[in-house]
Structures are given as C-alpha cells and as structure tokens.
C-alpha cells in the first residue's frame, strides 16, 4: 500500500473496531481518502478474536452478531469480502437447574410447540408476540437504521424527517401505534408479564433488555431495549464477530482505506475551533479534513480535545452521561464439548441463564451496592459449532458475558477477587452442565477494569454508554446526537452514538453518511 502524505487524508478515524472499520469502508468506497488508527496491535476492538490460551480463541468480547445490519452488508458487498451469514437466526436455550430447560427456536411454530410443554396459553401468546414484533419492526428499524431526525428545522417548524417517522408510526394503525407508545417507558417485567405466565420464557426473553445496562427487568426503559432487540435480531455471522471484523477489514482495504495499528491517539488537534487532525504515540502529527472518533464519547470530548474546545454545558452533559460498566467477560477453554444436562447431544449456540424475572432482578440488585450475585446472570455463546478453528479437535470454547458485575467492586478488584468471580461463573455453569469444572483447561476473567485498560473503554462500559431510555433517545447529547459535534470537522460514530452499542455497525455507517453529506 502506498504511504500517503500526511496531509493527504480526507478522514482520520480514531479506532478500528467494528464501527470504525464500517465508517472507513463506507467512506473509502465513496472515494474518500481514509486513515484508520487503532491503538491495539490488531483491529476489531470489542469484536476482535482473542487467543486467550494457547490453541483456544475466543470470539470478541461482544459475541452476538445477530444484530448486524443487513443493509450494510449489501452496501459494502461484504459477502464478496468473505462474509457468510447463517440462513436462519439462532435458537436460544434457557437451562434449568432441574429440568429440560427451554430451547426457543427461531421458527415461531417450533418455539410455540416447546413453549406449549410449559403452558398452552403461552404457546399461542408467543405467536401473537412474534406477530406484533413483525408488525412494528419496520417502524422500529426505521428509527434505528437512520440518523435521528432533526426535531425542528431552522425555521422553528417541525422537521421533515420527524414528520416522516411520525407518519410511519401512524400507519401502524391506532392499536399498534398506541401499544408502541405505551411500551416505550415500561419495564420489561411488566410488559412480559402481560404476555406470558411461564417464568422461564419471560426470563429468556428479558435477558437482552438489561445486558450492558444499569437496569434490571423491573426498571422502566427496559421494555424498549427488549423491543429493539427483538426487532433487530437476525441470523448470526458464520465465524462470529471475528469473521465480521475480517470482512470489514478486507472491504476497507479493498476500497482504499489505510489502517495503522499500534497507533494510540493521544489528542485531537484543533485550530480556530476546527478539528485539524490527531497526534499519535506521543507526538506524531497527522492532518485531515475530518476526524471521526469511534472511541467512547467521554474520551473523545473530555480527554482527547484540548481544554476549552467545548463549552461548559457540553462538558457537564458528557460528564454526567452514564457509562458504568456492569459486564465482565469470562472465556473458558474446555477439553471437550459442553454437556448440557437438559439437552444431551444437542448443538446449542446461545444460552441465557436465569429461571425467572425475579432471579434476573435479584442478579441485578447487588451491582447497585458494588457487589455481584453469587449466581450471576450469564449470556453464553458457544462458537465451536460454526467456527471450528477456535479450539483443538474435540475441544471447545465458551464465550461468557457475565452481567451485573460492577466496575467499582466494594473492596477492590484484585487477583483473588477475579478468581472468586471465575468460581461463581463455573458454579453457575455446573448447575446445568454438571462436571464442567473438570473439563476446564483455562479460564480468562476480564472484569470491567480489564476491559477498560485493554480496549480503552471508559469504565469498561461495553456499549460506550449505558442503554438507558434517556441515553437512547438522545445519544449521547443533543448537540452530538446526529454525529457532528460543536467542533467543526469532528464527528463521533461509535457505540456512544445513535443507535447505540452491540455489533450492529449502524453508528459507523450512519456517521460516515453524515460526513459524506457534509463534505
């Protein structure tokens, strides 16, 4: 690759995680000269593969690729760059300490059949639930997949985009529209309790409503999270997050973007209120017309910009933007495939623990006091099914996101505390996979502290800012909600921007679009 002149770049992108790579690929494809700067030695950020034990590779910290935007896959021709997607969405298993558990198949009929073993009423209810989600999906995705509308145009009238969105909501018909509006401020527990009676089913569905948040299923706002999740989930990427990163990187390079790793941005340079470039590795200056930051917005605005670059109001808003990490990652190397007592022999890819909404809420409670529950809530991805390269023959890997584990532990995080966390995870696993403790070759425990230092995310918040109702509606602040910032030429489009975190790549794509519109 030709080494470009320092002043030749149109866009410098801070961070080559999944959003940075997406933005880079989109901009490069449209003919912009792009440079991506990644502080780690490999690209991918929270989606990057990690060989955590010799011969065993974990998928990224974030392991759920079911939300990747398919419009983006088309737009970037990612399939030409090696991306493969499963034909169907994954099934999700909710184990029980005593019993077969519930395997929720992606096909509503098959799922209903299994739910019927618990409750015939819920079997019917589940089909109606899916039908409702299908009806509102276009509206919800319309909001998620587009730049947030300008509420008011410069003349003080209501903006055109707002009207369009409002119109699409009204076209749902009075009943669904009323229901959609009603759900937004609710808690997942109340909403699910209206639909279903089976505890296990409700717990399974409620999981994503609270992952990566500082909420439990009884917290208002979690119902919106749940709805968003239900609307956007689709099939998994073959090979998981790592394969997604591979394809994005190939695409970005193919379209002409440059990528530099081991390049730590320590400052964004400005002149006369305009962003002019960045300084990396303690002194090397790089110039560009635009700078896009995909690191978390607190870092961008409060650490990387020179003081005085933003006003006090924005400083205060960003300072009070809540980004408390509540997730730990545990990667498990096993010398055989995991044996699920409730489903012997069945190839299960995704598992969520918690047998009732109360259990999920109880798992959440301690994080408010700087502790975690002895039976924490686990979100497990078993990659060996589709990615046989991640472990030696016959062996396997478990990627476990442990929820409601505080960044600030009462006492302190140290080696012993991390060991205790690992033990709690293993104990929880062995309740439905007995004997697993004897198969463990290695266990890597990353608390929010390790995630912060390794991936550069403030307080280890995996979504760059909590998915709370106010922080989803306006993300991260009003003046930065449409990717631009008050600093001319500086854009933000990581997970801390609309529509939020997780492996969707939407913020990256929309941020790139904003830059294209303005350049």
């Amino acid at each position: 690759m030709n080494h470009r002149e320092k002043t030749d770049y149109d866009v410098i992108i801070i961070g080559a995680g999944h959003n940075g790579l997406t933005a880079g690929a989109v901009l490069a494809k449209k003919g912009r000269k792009v440079l991506l700067l990644e502080q780690c030695s490999q690209v991918g950020g929270l989606a990057a593969r990690e060989e955590f034990h010799s011969g065993y590779t974990a998928p990224g910290v974030l392991h759920d690729t079911s939300g990747v935007r398919h419009g983006l896959i088309q737009a970037l021709d990612l399939r030409l760059h090696g991306l493969k997607v499963n034909p169907d969405p994954p099934s999700i298993y909710a184990p029980q300490r005593k019993g077969k558990g519930l395997l929720l198949h992606h096909d509503p009929e098959r799922a209903a059949a299994e739910i019927g073993l618990f409750s015939t009423k819920d079997a019917e209810g589940y089909k109606e639930f899916r039908a409702f989600v299908n009806r509102v999906r276009p509206v919800v995705n319309g909001v998620l997949d587009n730049t947030p509308p300008q509420l008011f145009d410069s003349g003080g009238g209501v903006g055109w985009q707002t009207l369009r969105r409002a119109w699409s909501v009204r076209r749902l018909g009075k009943r669904d529209m009323a229901e959609l509006l009603r759900i937004v401020p609710m808690c997942a527990a109340d909403w699910l309790n209206e639909w279903f009676e089976t505890d296990l089913l409700k717990a399974l569905l409620a999981g994503p409503s609270v992952y990566g948040t500082f909420m439990g299923p009884r917290s208002p706002g979690s119902a919106l999270n749940l709805l968003i999740w239900e609307c956007r989930k689709g099939p998994l990427v073959v090979g998981g997050a790592g394969a997604l990163v591979d394809a994005l990187q190939r695409a970005a390079k193919a379209y002409g973007a440059d990528i530099r790793t081991n390049a730590q941005v320590d400052a964004i340079t400005t002149e006369g209120g305009r962003a002019t470039g960045v300084s990396i590795n303690g002194g090397e200056l790089l110039e560009s017309k635009f700078v896009i930051a995909t690191c978390d917005p607190k870092q961008t605005l409060l650490d990387l910009l020179p003081s005085g670059a933003i006003n006090e109001t924005l400083e205060h808003r960003m300072g009070t933007f809540r980004a408390r990490g509540t997730t730990a990652k545990v990667n498990v190397a096993l010398d055989k495939r995991i044996q699920l007592a409730g489903r012997p022999g069945e190839p299960v890819e995704m598992v969520r623990t918690g047998e009732s909404l109360d259990e999920l809420e109880q798992a959440f409670d301690p994080v408010k006091y700087g502790r975690y529950h002895e039976r924490p809530s686990l979100d497990i991805y078993i990659p060996a099914i589709t990615d046989s390269a991640c472990a030696p023959e016959g062996h396997s890997v478990l990627s476990v996101l442990v929820h409601f584990v505080p960044y600030h532990l009462k006492g302190r995080w140290n080696y012993r505390e991390r060991e205790s966390l690992g033990a709690a995870v293993v104990a929880t696993l062995s309740a439905f996979a007995p004997g697993i403790e004897d198969s463990i070759e290695s266990l890597e425990v990353l608390t929010a502290m390790e995630l912060e230092s390794r991936y550069g995310i403030t307080e280890g918040q995996i979504f760059h800012g909590e998915h709370a109702l106010d922080q989803l509606l306006i993300r991260p602040t009003p003046e930065c909600a449409r990717y631009g910032t008050p600093v001319e030429g500086l854009y933000m489009c990581g997970s801390g921007s609309h529509p939020g975190g997780g492996l969707t790549c939407a913020p990256g794509a929309l941020g790139a679009r904003a830059v294209l519109t303005n350049s």
Binding site: L151, V184, R218, P220, D358, L469, D470, T477
Partner: protein, 548 residues
C-alpha cells in the same frame, strides 16, 4: 292567553315535577375530594347533582377522623400541596373552611446524630447544606430555579386535558404540533432537561446536580412516593417533578397542613357543592352503574335502590369503575383487558399515633421549628434502595422509608394540650405481599412494629409515649376506602399510564366507552395526590360539551 298568574303556576308545577321525578342531571359516585370538587363545579353551573359516598364520612383518602377521643387524624393523606389555587378560588374553599398552614421545613435526622434541615428561608438552608457540602449549597437554589421553569411548562400540560397523539382528528394533531412547538420555544436546554426528567431515575437526575447523599437521599424520595419503584429506577425523576409542582398561593414546592386535618379539604368542597344546591348522601354504596343500550342512566345502590341521572361521574379507580361496577358484556373485551393491566399495585402504608407527649428527636432535641414540617427517615440512597429491594420480592421493608408529620404542633385543635398526633407515611408495603394481599391482616402488627422500631431509633422516647396506634396497610386502604390495591394515586404514576394514557389510550379525557359515564378521580389525568384537578377537569370538560 298567558297572564302572570298562569306563568307562575306553570313554574311551580314544573319544579314540583322535578322534585318528584328524582332524576338528577348528574350523580357523582364517591365522596372523595375529587368527586366533591367535581360536584361543586357541576352544581355551580346550575346542574342538579347528587353525591353518593359509601362511608359514613366524606373525603375518601382526604379525610379527618377522631379515631381516639380528643385526637383528630388525617387518616390517609396528610399534607396538601398540589391542590390547584384556581380551584380554591373558583369554589371559594377558603370561605368554606379551608385553611392551609405552610410546612416550615424538611427535617432529616441521621443515624450518627447529625441532621439536615431545609427551610423555606434560602439563607438558612444554605447554611445547613454547607455543613455537608459547599458546592451543593450553591447548587441548591439553581436546582430549584431550573425545576421551577420546567414545572411551569409541564403545568400547562397537567392543567389541561391531555392531548392524544393516536387520534385521527386533525384538530387533535394540531394541538400536538402546537405543544411540540411550545417545547421548542422553551429552549433546547429545557427540552433536553425535560427528556432527562421523563426517563431518568431520581438519583441519576440528582447526581447531575449534587454530590452529598444527605441531600440527594431525602430529595430523591419524592420520586417514589406512591409508586412501586426505587429511587434508582428510571422514570422516578418525573414523579419528583410531579410532586415538585405543588403550589400554595403560587409558591412552588410549598407544602402545608390543612387546618383541622386533610378532611377539611373535602368538607370545604362539600360545603361549596351544597351551597350551589348539590345533595350529598353518605352510607350509600353504589354497586352498579345502570346501563341501557350502551348508555349510563344512573346507579344502583347496595340494597337495590335505583337512582336515575342524565350523567354519572365515577371518582372511583378505573378498575373498580369498569370491572367492579359494570356488568359483563357491556364493555368491549379489549378495553376491559387494557383496564385490567392498568397498574394499581399499592406500595405504601400509614401508621397513625396518638402521643401523650412531644416526641424528642435525639439529634435535635426539643420542640422547635424543625419539627413543624415534615420529618424524613431516609439516611442514605443505599438505605432507600434496599427498602425497595425487599419489597420487590413480596415483603414489607424491615427498615422502611418514613415521612413523619406532627401537625398538632401547628394546629392545636387536633389534640389535647401537650399531647400530639403523629402521621407516619411508610414505604414500602407491597399490596401483593407474600401469601397474597388478604394475608396482610396477619402481618399488620409486625409491619407497624417495624415502622415504630425504625422511628424509635431516632426518637428514643417514642414507644413509651404511644397512647393509640392505627396501622393501615394497602389491604386496609382498599377495604376501608375502596382504593384499588391500596394505591394512593389510584394507579401508579408511571409514564405508560399518564397523560394521554391515563387510564388508557383514547380514553384520557374523562369520557368512557359508556355514554354519559365519566371518570373524575385520580385514575384520570393528571393523576393523584390531593390535587382536585381530575374532578375539576372532568366537570369542565362535561360542561364545555353541553355549552354549560
């Protein structure tokens, strides 16, 4: 040919006929403060009104009773704040006996013997807060100002029938647009702040302003009164604002005692109603709405008596109204299921004490202005959140949040000289307690003990001073005054059942699916508290339609 004599006699005949026909223009079911205020407005407009109250006393939850000889208790609701000034004016409630004595302060005793008092006087307050944090002392008046600005704006929504975004009526949509634009005129900052207020938790919202727990804890509590949420639950910042909007004589955030107890509010409204010709009957429980061909024609009392009316106004909670008092089949099943999922879920209790002497608080002993306001047992945010955690799983809080007032200190008419009444509001006491709501009577005394024991930690002589104790659980509130599931607001103040969704979308303007049946209690917009607004707005909506 018409001569004067025959005109007079015609009038006499007609009025005699009206008395005999016993048909009212309006029946108001429920003699609580909203029902009585609704009745007063209707009567003032010349309507022939009958109020029917099931108990022997008027007032519902806004009631004063002499439960123990010589001691008058505000049995349920114990402070007044949200009562709209224009209602007081328009109904002349002051002339009818309403007198509000402003609360002087909010007192927070702490377990380590320290305490914080916030006064009406800003300088005094500043000095108190400064002992804990000088930054917070500076911030406190700023916070008040910002909230006042937002409250003015929100008040415009609250004081009017809620606009309905799901309506297809173009006039409705224009109203929504105008509302949206007035948002804009308030300025971006306040729009942002308002969004935050609607969605954040009380603690997170207060974290944006203050650093000391000692300030945040008692302030956050107004976000959870009467809800089944914790101070860290999203959505509680809005409830904080709702309570902040309390006004007395135009001064925001000023709360007060009603002289003679909270029941005086209801009695004053009743007097106003009677003055305009309304009839009020007590010990007249309504068991059904009389409905023929989809129209409400009147009511049926316990015992079978039917009373006819052109319109019926129900101030009962939505579930009792639609599910309890309407026969099966009269309502669309979809509407019924929506009402059934309307959340009542009472979460609070009350303990009323008659004391034979003044109860000393060990951190600030003796009588004084500090005990003439409200006293909060809310020593930290963690304490408050843990109280909620317990209740989530079906138990009352062993270490509950308490809000205590000793109104006899400022209103000696309430108790014999030297003796006192003490009102203790408690959270949390979940209606759906383990064992089911009907098991509450077995737990009542233990609940009362937890309350008194907790307070006694701050007020050591308390137990010895108790002459009489009344413990009210959510079950008791439901049984005694018909408050569904003991929710003091006739339904949680959560966003999905407020504004255009109270009690349910499409029916938030006091009309109901049954023609001539109206809703006028706290289960209608703008919600609960001793506000009088639902009663007033229901009456005015009705009167507006018929041209007065």
């Amino acid at each position: 040919m018409m001569n004067r004599d025959s005109t007079l006699s015609r009038r006499t005949v007609l009025s005699a006929f009206r008395i005999m026909s016993k048909k009212y223009d309006a029946i108001v079911v429920g003699g609580g403060h909203n029902g009585l205020i609704c009745a007063a407005y209707l009567a003032k407009a010349g309507k022939k009104v009958l109020v029917l109250e099931m108990r022997h006393v008027l007032g519902g939850a806004a009631v004063s009773e002499e439960l123990y000889p010589g001691f008058t208790f505000s049995v349920f609701s114990y402070v007044v704040s949200l009562l709209r000034p224009h209602i007081i004016r328009e109904l002349n409630l002051t002339r009818h006996g309403l007198e509000i004595i402003p609360l002087e302060c909010s007192f927070l005793p702490l377990p380590d013997g320290d305490s914080l008092c916030r006064w009406a006087d800003p300088e005094l307050t500043r000095r108190e807060i400064m002992r804990f944090s000088s930054r917070d002392a500076d911030m406190y008046p700023e916070f008040g100002l910002a909230l006042k600005k937002i409250a003015y704006f929100v008040k415009r929504i609250v004081d009017n029938p809620a606009p309905d975004p799901t309506s297809s009526n173009p006039i409705e949509l224009l109203k929504m647009l105008r509302l949206a634009k007035s948002f804009r005129s308030v300025g971006d900052d306040l729009v942002y702040l308002h969004t935050k207020l609607l969605t954040m938790s009380a603690v997170d919202f207060l974290d944006m302003w203050f650093e000391s727990d000692v300030l945040k804890a008692p302030m956050s509590v107004s976000g959870i009164i009467g809800t089944f949420l914790g101070v860290r639950s999203p959505g509680t910042a809005y409830v904080l604002l709702h309570h902040y909007m309390g006004e007395i004589d135009g001064a925001f955030r000023a709360w007060g005692f009603s002289k003679g107890g909270t029941g005086q509010v209801s009695l004053a409204a009743a007097a106003a109603a009677r003055e305009h010709g309304a009839e009020i009957r007590t010990e007249a429980p309504v068991v059904q709405f009389l409905i023929r061909r989809g129209t409400c024609k009147g009511v049926v009392l316990d015992g079978g008596e039917e009373i006819l009316a052109g319109h019926v106004f129900s101030s009962l909670d939505p579930q009792r109204t639609f599910v309890g008092l309407i026969e099966n089949g009269q309502l669309d099943p979809d509407f019924v299921s929506r009402i059934k999922r309307y959340k009542l879920r009472g979460s609070s209790g009350k303990v009323n004490l008659a004391l034979d002497r003044f109860p000393d608080f060990s951190c600030r002993p003796g009588d004084g202005p500090h005990v003439r306001g409200d006293i909060a047992i809310a020593p930290s945010i963690e304490y408050l959140e843990r109280a909620y955690d317990e209740a989530k799983y079906g138990e009352f809080s062993q270490r509950p949040y308490l809000n205590v007032v000793i109104p006899s200190l400022v209103d000696p008419s309430l108790a014999p000289p030297g003796k006192h009444v003490m009102s203790i509001f408690v959270q949390y006491a979940p209606y759906y307690v383990n064992g089911g709501p009907s098991s509450w009577p077995e737990k009542r005394e233990a609940f009362g003990d937890a309350v008194v024991d907790t307070l006694a930690e701050y007020c050591p002589g308390l137990k010895d001073a108790v002459l009489y104790r009344q413990v009210l659980t959510p079950w008791d509130m439901e049984q005694q005054i018909g408050l569904g599931e003991g929710n003091i607001f006739q339904g949680e103040l959560s966003l999905e059942q407020l504004l255009f969704q109270r009690p349910t979308a499409g029916w938030a303007r006091y009309r109901t699916p049954i023609k001539h049946l109206w809703l006028c209690g706290s289960g209608a917009h703008p919600g609960g508290g001793v506000m009088g607004a639902p009663g007033e707005l229901a009456a005015k909506t009705f009167l507006g339609t018929l041209g007065g």
